[in-house]
Amino acid sequence: MHRMSRRTFLARSAAAAAALGLAACARDHRPDDRQRLDEARWRALEAAQDRLLPSSPGAPGARDVRATAYLDAALAEADTPAAVRARIRDGADRLDALAREHGAPDFAALQPEARDAVLAEFFDTPEGDRWFDAVMPFTLEALLGDPVHGGNPDGIAWDWLGHRPGWPRPAETRA
């Protein structure tokens, strides 16, 4: 017996639909919209997530839970609304633009304190406030989700918060 996860569940549904030539019936995907992050946006988001959840001794941060790779994969998922995908990407561009106004080549080139200042400036705008709401769920999923999804390696963030996961846990590893 196996435990069905969303991944196998969706994969099976998609396979069944594809076999019948009906894949489009159930999906709203536009392939161009689901591309992986380009290098510039990855850099900006990685630098931002590192300030949203900084790493410190004994306390994992975004870097330790591979939060940007998680975000990149999540943005390509069919469950993620197109508006959320666009908001997160536009926010990455906006952070770079704000950094350039401060004389830096891009957001990731800033020192940590300067990144915090740019983020605070961004969050004071409605666009930045919405970006925060879009990016935090995936960042915290990477921190506190089951390691099977690609974040929280060996449950380090569960250990940090004294969290006891429920069981059964998903048994598969991400392909």
């Binding site: 435990r3 949203l52 410190s56 069919a78 506190l144 569960w158 940090w160 846990r169």
Partner: protein
């Protein structure tokens, strides 16, 4: 010849008892379920899969609802849930329905809940009516549910204790978190009488079902041990074992066909995997696919004698939809290391209020006490703003440590009657269709000041109790919003065809072989979660239906 004696649309708390009763009585039953057929071995306690993705519910871009809500200037605005973050009226599309995901906090209605109009009089702006049946009609079936679905508990005396035909529950109570004893000790000091909440959870293995494994992650999560009394684990698996009940998953009913005499003849359904359209004919049809979707299906089921839809000769289908309301609160205690997940206490001292501001005697409600849900992602996300502003960086991490690692949060949930309102109802959207090309349900959700007035009185009592326990940072929220996992009404039962859709046996007044057995029949909701009542009433109707077959 028909394909089956009875076709049941929906496999949750309304459908399971009918399939179970009829199959065991020798009748053939086909159950149509829109969702997949997942079993214990498929379920995990993975927050991302179960709670944060569309694994158990349709994707909103494929199948939204339309919600209409009041605007500040007295009008209505509408939006599709595909476009509005935070709004979702799906609970679970899977064999067993939402009973897979319930917490299983089981309360009976009180005898007075079935005659609110008679007991407390009319309320301006609401359409309160009495039920066509009384508590004595339901009591044998509440009792049956305790045994067949499996309810664990312990009877203690309190002012609103249930009238029972047996002295105690058939299953012993679950092991309790130490806070339960603390609540019992503190309650009387603030004038309250906490009592153990019956749970639809087996404390030990019974038949094919394992007992509770105390993994926590109960509410929202389908149960991997089978201990939780889902319609699937408790009833359908046993109905299927008779050899006379067939469950067809991935089968979304889109229309009930009817003939020139007005009798229902077949259900037309779509296979959600390949889009194929199929039919099931039967002698009797039972609709139980959750009140919003049941109303939608009846409205879609036009026929020669039913130009406005089945059961809808008087235009009453979809009217007086009920939710539940009342608000909630929580408070913070020092971290208690006990791994036991259940506090299982409730307070019903305020089930009736006597308050001049409410016109004297008035209906109150129930306060359930529970540990805050252990979902860590949801817990962390609820802490990313302080005073409305983004909280991030080291300040966020410090807060997570203090509030998640070092604290235990005790929560209370209020259950207050959602009054039957003329402006809370289901119609078909003229604008939005789902991926099958069908008009989606348009749900208008009104407001009534009594929802908030009652909720505030309960919240004050909940706060008193939390503070007497030593909780700090106590927060309460009462906003009169609907709990969208608790839905009833829309197909009222009653004696008068001019004012009700169904007769007292939950058979449509205008279609003699059509029954509705989910919570849709309820004219008023009662101030508790509905599941036990839906189960009990569906068992009652199954007996009536069997006698009439």
């Amino acid at each position: 010849m028909t394909d089956a004696d009875v076709c049941v649309v929906g496999s949750g708390a309304g459908g399971g008892p009918v399939a179970f009763t009829l199959a065991r009585a020798g009748r053939s039953v086909v159950v149509l379920e829109k969702g997949p057929w997942l079993r214990e071995a498929d379920f995990t306690k993975d927050e991302i899969d179960v709670c944060r993705r569309r694994t158990l519910v349709p994707r909103l871009t494929d199948e939204p609802h339309v919600v209409e809500r009041p605007t500040d200037d007295g009008g209505w605005e509408w939006f599709s849930t595909a476009d509005a973050a935070g709004w979702d009226l799906w609970n679970a599309c899977m064999v067993g329905g939402a009973t897979n995901r319930m917490s299983g906090f089981f309360h009976r209605l009180k005898p007075t809940d079935l005659r609110l109009r008679d007991e407390y009089g009319p309320i301006a702006g609401a359409d309160v009516v009495d039920w066509p049946i009384g508590y004595d009609d339901l009591e044998p079936y509440y009792d049956l549910v305790e045994r067949e679905v499996g309810v664990s508990g312990r009877v203690v005396a309190h002012p609103w204790a249930d009238r029972r035909s047996r002295p105690d529950f058939p299953y012993a109570p679950l092991a309790e978190h130490p806070l339960a004893a603390a609540i019992d000790a503190v309650g009387p000091r603030v004038g309250l009488h906490p009592f153990p909440i019956p749970r639809a959870i087996l404390p030990f293995p019974v038949g094919e079902r394992r007992g509770c494994e105390y993994s926590g992650f109960c509410g929202n999560y389908p149960c991997s041990s089978g201990a939780k009394g889902s319609s699937r684990a408790a009833l359908l698996d046993r109905a299927i074992a008779t050899g006379r009940c067939e469950v067809r998953p991935h089968a979304m009913a889109r229309r009930i066909e009817s003939d020139a005499r007005g009798r229902a003849t077949a259900v037309e359904y779509v296979d959600t995997r390949d889009g194929a359209v199929r039919r099931v004919s039967a002698k009797v049809f039972v609709v139980a696919c959750q009140p919003i979707q049941s109303a939608r299906l009846l409205l879609l089921s036009t026929g020669p004698r039913h130009p406005r839809g089945l059961g809808n000769a008087r235009g009453l289908v979809g009217r007086h939809l009920l939710f539940s309301t009342g608000g909630w609160g929580l408070g913070r205690l020092p971290r208690d290391p006990s791994p036991l997940p259940f506090v299982n206490r409730a307070v019903q001292d305020l089930y009736e209020l006597d308050d001049p501001a409410l016109g004297g005697r008035a209906k109150g409600g129930t306060i359930d006490l529970l540990l805050a849900h252990p979902n860590p992602i949801a817990g962390a996300l609820s802490r990313v703003r302080r005073a409305g502003r983004p909280l991030w960086g080291d300040a966020l991490k410090a807060r997570l440590l203090a509030e998640m690692r070092d604290s235990t949060w005790l929560e209370f949930e209020n259950f207050v009657d959602w009054l039957p309102l003329p402006d809370t109802h289901v119609t078909l959207s003229p604008h939005v269709r789902d991926r099958f090309g069908l008009p989606v349900a348009r749900v208008r959700i009104g407001r009534h000041p009594r929802h908030v007035e009652t909720g505030e009185r309960l919240a004050a009592a909940g706060r008193r109790l939390l503070e007497a326990l030593g909780a700090v940072d106590v927060v309460t929220r009462v906003r009169g919003l609907p709990a969208t996992n608790l839905v009833a009404g829309g197909c009222r039962f009653g004696r008068d065809p001019a004012t009700s859709v169904l007769d007292p046996d939950c058979r449509a007044h205008d279609c003699e072989n059509l029954y509705v057995t989910d919570g849709g029949c309820m004219p008023t909701g009662g101030s508790v979660p509905y599941t036990w009542t839906i189960y009990a009433n569906a068992f009652r109707v199954a007996d009536r239906l069997l006698a009439a077959l």
